[in-house]
Symmetry: C2
Subunit: 525 residues, 2 copies
Amino acid sequence: MSTTDEPQPTSERRVRPSGRDAKRAARAARAAASVPYITRALPRYEVLNEEGLTLIEGNADTILEEIGLIFRDDPEALEIWKAAGADLDGERVRFPRGLCRSIVQRTAPREFIQHARNPARSVRIGGDATVFAPAYGSPFIHNLDEGRRYARIEDFRNFVKLAYMANSLHHSGGTICEPVDLPVNKRHLDMVYSHVKYSDKAFMGSVTHPERAADSVEMAKIAFGGEALDPATGRPRTTLINLINVNSPLTYDATMLGALKVYARANQATIVTPFILSGAMSPVTVAGTAAQTLAEALAGLAFAQLVSPGAPVVCGSFASSLSMQSGAPTFGTPEPALVLYIMAALARRLGVPFRSGGSLCASKIPDAQAAFESAQTLLPTCLAGVNFVLHVAGWLEGGLAMGYEKFMMDTDQAGMMHTLLAGVDLSPNGQALDAIRQVGPGAHFLGCDHTQANFESAFYRSPLADNNSYEQWLEGGSLDMAQRANALWKKQLAEYVAPPLDPAIDEALLDFINRRKAAAPDSNV
Amino acid sequence: MSTTDEPQPTSERRVRPSGRDAKRAARAARAAASVPYITRALPRYEVLNEEGLTLIEGNADTILEEIGLIFRDDPEALEIWKAAGADLDGERVRFPRGLCRSIVQRTAPREFIQHARNPARSVRIGGDATVFAPAYGSPFIHNLDEGRRYARIEDFRNFVKLAYMANSLHHSGGTICEPVDLPVNKRHLDMVYSHVKYSDKAFMGSVTHPERAADSVEMAKIAFGGEALDPATGRPRTTLINLINVNSPLTYDATMLGALKVYARANQATIVTPFILSGAMSPVTVAGTAAQTLAEALAGLAFAQLVSPGAPVVCGSFASSLSMQSGAPTFGTPEPALVLYIMAALARRLGVPFRSGGSLCASKIPDAQAAFESAQTLLPTCLAGVNFVLHVAGWLEGGLAMGYEKFMMDTDQAGMMHTLLAGVDLSPNGQALDAIRQVGPGAHFLGCDHTQANFESAFYRSPLADNNSYEQWLEGGSLDMAQRANALWKKQLAEYVAPPLDPAIDEALLDFINRRKAAAPDSNV
């Protein structure tokens, strides 16, 4: 190949190794088949040293001590805090320095197993494990055929199916999109049922009302064949993980406290997440946002441990910045990435699993903006060592829309992260000195023994990237990545086969749902 | 703002701070104005520990000792190596363990200044400095209006102008695109002239023939008002940096050795870069590719120091993977990123500046694939601590096309990297405790003193991201990022104003070019 000018002409650069065909590629694809979750070998990236992290922790303690938090409309919560030694001033709760941290560290598990109904798909949350779940909570969907429209239960089922088929996703998620064709007070029943029926991966419960949380717990019991103790812990098996967002700044309301209490008392996992747009719900600075996030999370995590000592909890952080021009949230910018790195380190020091990140973007469509912003979120997520990653696939428009094409692109990127997090192979095979000896100067490595031996596992393979020549790409219709993704999600849905489900369990779930639906009129609050 | 479900409805999320207008935004944009180069405050990311890096270094020494390199068609090079203590076997040169490293470490500068004709724009290369330059070497251009076509000198001038206007680019680059409407043996004269005439940033010389390298040196002398010593070093002022690619595996040819010698003897900088598609020019593994890259770079860097002890050199690495299905190069995948992190650490241990990365992609168009792949290259580039980054802006199609829209998107991302590399502000203002005290629970930070005081510098601001509501975006024509970039490059070119150039220098340059063009017939080799 030629010499000094960097890009090489297509004809010289494109070299076609011999002896491989479609069957071989299919074998390779199977070899890269699903793992229940990622166990990282890659070191974590740290942006602050010990001194910097200690400073942020001290500031969080100052916020808890001086400013405190409001626990709104929940007298029981105030009683619990009073008994734990906090200072009460109406609904304002102030915490002696170190109180929340010591409560969390006394009983919260460093990591835990969330069971899936297929035991091979149970996920470990915490430590070196990383679990990828789809996006959560969009009222709209977007695809190239229809544009943007309100989501329906059919979309919800489609995304459960696509997540089930995606090797790079380990979790079925929760409110993947809002089925707005169903009443607000009953749609959680159909959502939980869809996760059980159309997937065998672990999933999330409802948090929009304590009663809906209780329904989720009941349905999980039915789906898992009754209540059972986890032999590893002697505690009720954890089968749900649930998203409890803080009303930042510094406020917990009765809805989320209610859902948190239901789940914690059932030994189900809660992700306590300050949801912060810096500039509106926190200061415009990274260090200020991190301190406030830690203070808010500490109060919620400690509260969960007071309610149910030993219940699995996850420290969460959702950080975005506000556009100072328009007031709109922005994504994929550097500041939230810095907050993420810091919060991941702080959660490790606290000793609990961490949730953050995903494939976030503000773009309305699966274009270059969506991709830039998503990559600028997902890569920090992985380098920082996030344990539970919501919003890995599908997120568009600040979370207002769940994109079909975006979902496929994001699962592709998530697959790539599996290879990255496996780190560098320093075995003799990884060092490959014999290959370099065999080939020597001026020859090529395509046919050498080492390349042949490692052919099937070498390099991450994207199902959506077009690496062909310009001429081949033209012949293929000059498609962009979104158009290729459009064909792929349709193909996947057409090929979907449901995992087996015991008919007795299915019947019991439907019976429960029917009884609950009959018990109250439809309502949209 | 509402509670437990993650995405918030647009109307609630969009908050419009008061007291700000277009003038204020314009002031803010000016405040974020250009720096001559980035001085990083963010820690570097390391994927291997001391033991792992030592292993790779040992393997590089084994390659140099046992296998050696070919120095092709350059008897002088062989004489130089013989005198330095290498073992010769025809054109094959083998190196006693540690020889190349000791030669480099004896005389190569750890960092150096490349002077720009505007002294305020001179760049520091090495240490904590990062310099961003445009893409290099494409025979084609791409834009939304014309699609893909061969590049012309007019395109070259356009990109020099766009790079001059881009605050996030510190360097004018070299062969930004190949002006194929000019003869191969003369186009370097027009390219160097364009860099001087249409920009005042530092630039690169020609490497396609030793004579063209000599022309570049002569033109730089004229442009800089004659030869001069750098007072900091007492050596001839370094005004050119030049890309010397290795013919991997393990081969240097006469063309690049010739150019390297011309530049090194004039104390101009050379970037010695193994250009490697793993699987073809190196083993399919990360550790094998890193060891071979280091061996190749060490031999070239040491050769430059033997030719001209103390001449500025940069250790380069261009690593991509081969698609094992099609034989095509791929970009933005995890393996080249891992090679990049390792090579950056190895160059630091060697004690020379490092060049790698950029905004690489295989996509033919500025779509989501282009963005994903570019982000997955540029972010590792910045986290790893690359000092000189070629290909930051414009790269499409594996470097075969220079994209106008892609150029604008990439400069936006490069701007974002400035904010990231500034790291976390831990000053009292950065900690923002008083802001949290002032606002307290349940209120918002939009109007607080701290937000007002930090308003203009808070958060990276993208000129291309659309963060508006869906409805606003529809009203604006439903443009994707590439379409917005299309409008932006046209606006920029329309507003371009050339930097001042002494008419006597301009005349002398044109006179030199005319004489050189008259001295030989046009040729396309």
